[in-house]
Symmetry: C2
Subunit: 587 residues, 2 copies
């Protein structure tokens, strides 16, 4: 079992100096989010992470979730841990007090969830998805649905799920076949859903499924999908539980990682049909689901950061303790840990600097969401929404790819011990691997960034974002930070790529689509560098070792990560012709 | 269960056009290696890979090796598969007919092992290590040892192991503590060894352990290590088996992957001490072990290629069959597999082109070994040995890192199905992860390349290698291949890095050591590009679709892989100061 200690000073540093927490808490909606309250929330969440969730991480991995006689059992201690969250009201942190929530900023919820995802990713999928389901009901449900379901979902007494994927409909939601047939004041839902995270489990008395399905007269494709609430147990008007609904877990997947999280095949309507109620208007389900998905995508990007932080802590501890040979150039007295071997240090720095960059990006995206939803001024809301929209594919696409690389470096730092399961490094590596896949693969994020968010407006939005990067780069350069000039040069490369994408898109859409993932990586690295520059600007002249380190990690990031932008630019600007040049049979 | 079909035309193309098989078979030592014999060996080996080994790959993963009442059980069918290799005499392919071998080239053995490693990596570790043990006994054993052990090791009736690692001595062999005390005509060995691949198993009647240990009067450090033969069962002079030796498997590791391969903790001398005999001279064990390790390092690099090929085949099949949405820009009639989604195609091309580059590099290294060991002319032997020495860290360090990336892309192509263990893609991902660790981590390969093989001769050898790359680049440029000019530019970057490394090494050895892994990656990419250019030069003007594809993969490699050289050059030339700039406490 490995420990986790929340990096509270790093988290606070990014909240205050990179993401702009003060701008968020200055919004009228968040008048209660005083600095004292923020601190105590972070400290309490850190304790839960370290004391309650982290010790259960390896337990969940080794025991896994099991389907036994129709009941989905979770690992030892997990139900008790869930009850800790329920009792603290933690699930309601970002929700309106109207439904029992705390009414605190999304960016604060993000910081709390970073700690929990790092402590126990398989567990924290449950609050993550429950919050997504609350969002959907809060945003699109009728008053009756809100009254019936939200109070217990906000407390976490009931959990929520998202039921999108079907065997023939993964990335392509147009292919959804689950049916919803009207019957009186409700609908009968029938169909099969796969990959349903926490689709069933024993931790709570009821589970509220949000299910995409088609009405009998629905148009084909994505414009014929509607969203339904399908509870595991029907809920009476007084809030008490009624009959068991026809929505059951048919089996659980045997997965590479996140063993503690039950991934269910859900059968709706094996009998007379599951009873559900329509959310919002018919045939607008995909649009509603996208709102949730944007939340979920930022949350999965956060998992990339979190698993990276966990892997880093474990590797750092091992590197301090493990003695193995005399490091090259070592002049210190006596034995030293492998932390002083230059390449081990290079790996640790590669992990550390990208963790800082990801945290900056993800918290900034979360703060933009707060502003977009709560600023009194519509123009400010619009600007923040545009930034959130552009950041979301970077948060999801880039942070999860980087999270995988960092989890792999965590194994590498351990050498042979990293390959032995008992050590724990391998679990992070296995757990991390899902993050580039679920809630839309990296390619889907990249297509979102390029095809939707760059080509549709002719590159307008991205040029604005690049201007914002250039402003930071200029400030860094003026302040004499080495990253400044490098960030400026990289921004010019990115700008050239945007122009190429826009032009190529007019020629053949396969060209920008083929360049989309390299472009996503380029933009992730670039905006990550902007975050490092912001941090370095804030830390400059500060007196202590923590602040001084921020200048070094920014330098390291510039030399070891930002340096990749040129090559990515070459790849993109070379055109994508070679990608599709072979006939299928030649592969 | 997933199938594997050996890519015989690709293998033959690289043997003939990139690695220069003809130059090897022209050596007097290999007079019997006629084209017909080579073909039939490759075809037979391909059948064994497809029919015997590949079907057991998932069986081995799910059953694993188990220690039951002191016996190490292997998975169902594995003993029968081993007997297929024994009956065919396959283990003796590269060994002298004097000891029952076939006397065929190392490069041919490499091609055969590529197929078997791809078919079943956990299984093929056993012949791989047995061949390494034969090499050691053949090279350094007494005539008596050779007569006693080699016949049955060459047939594979007995298997071999390498016992280096101890709990406190992984990468640092100077810390080895296992003792060898002289007693009459033999030695008593006592100590604990860990991570011993196929340290014990039930497939054969005897196992010959090669064990590093210290004599009582040995100097400290690596100059006091000797090599011993310690058989599981003592062998009588007539070759029959005697008493059980005091060398037992204490436990097996629970690993991330290669479950079918037993990784043993070996206890030597828990009782009266294991009986062993000294190989070669006392205190020269490390030197002998290094000869074996060079073989083993090339063999592990080959695993990187092999697992990549296996992952590619599986991803390609899935991408052909899986239908999901209409690909961007798709104008074909009807439904098509995801193979026509631009980013899926980009991933497949990224896999394919690097597999071709690795195969060229690895087979070339193997051919250099053949020339170095068998050429009648000493100067030719010397030149080939120098190339083999420089290639070995690239083969091991670069191919295993690339193998991991490709196995991960294999998961990604499968989307959610890639995360489900039954699919098989995840097994390749788990299996691949050990390859950058055992037989020396990537950092150790990089230090070998930079500190030993570049700084010691002031960059002389590497300049020669870069000149060789430049020659290919020039030829490619003259032939009008796009990769030519790009390879030339990248060679200039590499040259600048060599000069920087040599200079920085004089200043502070930590500087080149910190840049070593980026430099290894740069050199791997570069020599890989040289191999692609050689292939394209050979394919140019050829009439069929297979040869035409070589030109496209070379173009793709240039745009998507070789393009990384600039960034790696920036990283190296920026200096390594930021790597060690933080105090330990600031990490």
């Amino acid at each position: 079992m490995t420990a986790y200690a929340a990096p509270l000073r790093d988290i606070t540093f990014v909240l205050d100096n990179v993401a702009g927490l003060a701008k968020v808490t200055a919004l009228p909606a968040f008048a209660e989010a005083t600095p004292d309250l923020v601190s105590s929330i972070l400290e309490e969440a850190a304790k839960i992470a370290a004391d309650t969730l982290a010790p259960l991480n390896q337990v969940g991995d080794s025991q896994g979730a099991r389907l036994e006689n129709g009941v989905v059992r979770v690992a030892d201690g997990w139900t008790e841990a869930w009850n800790v969250l329920v009792e603290g009201g933690w699930n309601g942190l970002p929700f309106s007090p109207d439904h029992g929530g705390m009414g605190l900023p999304n960016v604060l919820n993000t910081a709390v969830h970073e700690m929990w995802q790092a402590a126990n990713m398989a567990f924290t999928l449950c609050p993550m998805l429950t919050q997504g389901a609350v969002n959907a009901v809060e945003s699109y449900g009728t008053e009756g649905q809100k009254a019936l379901y939200l109070p217990k979902m906000v407390t976490g007494e009931w959990t929520g799920t998202m039921n999108l994927t079907e065997p023939g409909a993964g990335s392509d939601l147009a292919a959804i076949r689950t049916k919803a047939v009207p019957e009186g004041d409700h609908y009968r839902i029938s169909g099969s859903k796969i990959f349903i995270t926490y689709g069933d489990h024993e931790m709570v008395e009821n589970i509220i499924h949000l299910v995409l399905a088609r009405l009998p007269d629905a148009p084909a494709g994505v414009k014929g999908i509607s969203l339904f609430i399908v509870p595991k147990f029907l809920v009476n008007e007084d809030g008490s539980l009624g009959a068991r609904n026809d929505a059951v877990c048919a089996s659980l997947e045997h997965k590479l990682g996140i063993h503690g999280s039950p991934t269910a095949v859900m059968a709706f309507g094996e009998g007379e049909g599951a009873i559900g109620s329509l959310v919002g208007e018919a045939n607008r389900g995909l649009e509603y689901m996208f709102t949730m998905m944007n939340h979920a995508r930022q949350a999965v990007g956060l998992q990339g950061l979190a698993i990276a932080e966990r892997a880093y802590q474990q590797a750092l501890n091992y590197a301090r303790e493990r003695v193995q040979g005399k490091p090259t150039g070592w002049t210190g007295a006596g034995a030293t840990g492998i932390i002083n071997h230059p390449d081990v240090r290079r790996m640790l720095m590669t992990m550390k600097c990208q963790i800082e960059a990801m945290r900056g990006l993800i918290y900034s995206a979360a703060a933009h969401v707060d502003v977009a939803h709560n600023h009194p001024d519509a123009a400010e809301r619009g600007r923040a929404q545009m930034m959130a929209d552009l950041y979301t594919p970077l948060v999801k696409g880039w942070s999860t790819e980087v999270g995988n690389v960092i989890a792999s470096l965590g194994v590498q730092v351990h050498g042979g011990m990293g390959y032995v399961e008992e050590t724990g490094a391998a679990q992070h590596f296995r757990d991390a691997r899902i993050t580039t896949i679920y809630e839309g693969t990296t390619a889907i994020q990249a297509n979102d960034l390029v095809l939707r968010k760059t080509l549709r407006d002719g590159g307008q939005g991205l040029r604005g974002l690049l201007q914002d990067v250039a402003t930071t780069a200029g400030a860094a350069e003026s302040a004499g930070l080495a990253i400044g000039a490098k960030l400026n040069a990289a921004t010019a490369t990115a700008t050239a790529c945007v122009e190429w994408l826009v032009g190529a898109g007019k020629e053949d859409p396969r060209l920008p689509a083929g360049a989309a993932v390299p472009f996503l990586e380029l933009m992730g690295i670039l905006v990550g560098a902007q975050m490092m520059a912001k941090g370095a600007l804030a830390a400059k002249g500060g007196g202590d070792a923590f602040l001084a380190a921020k200048l070094v990690t920014a330098d390291f990031y510039a030399d070891h990560v930002l340096s990749r932008v040129d090559g990515l630019g070459q790849t993109i600007l070379a055109g994508s012709a070679a990608i599709m040049a072979l006939d299928e049979s030649q592969l």
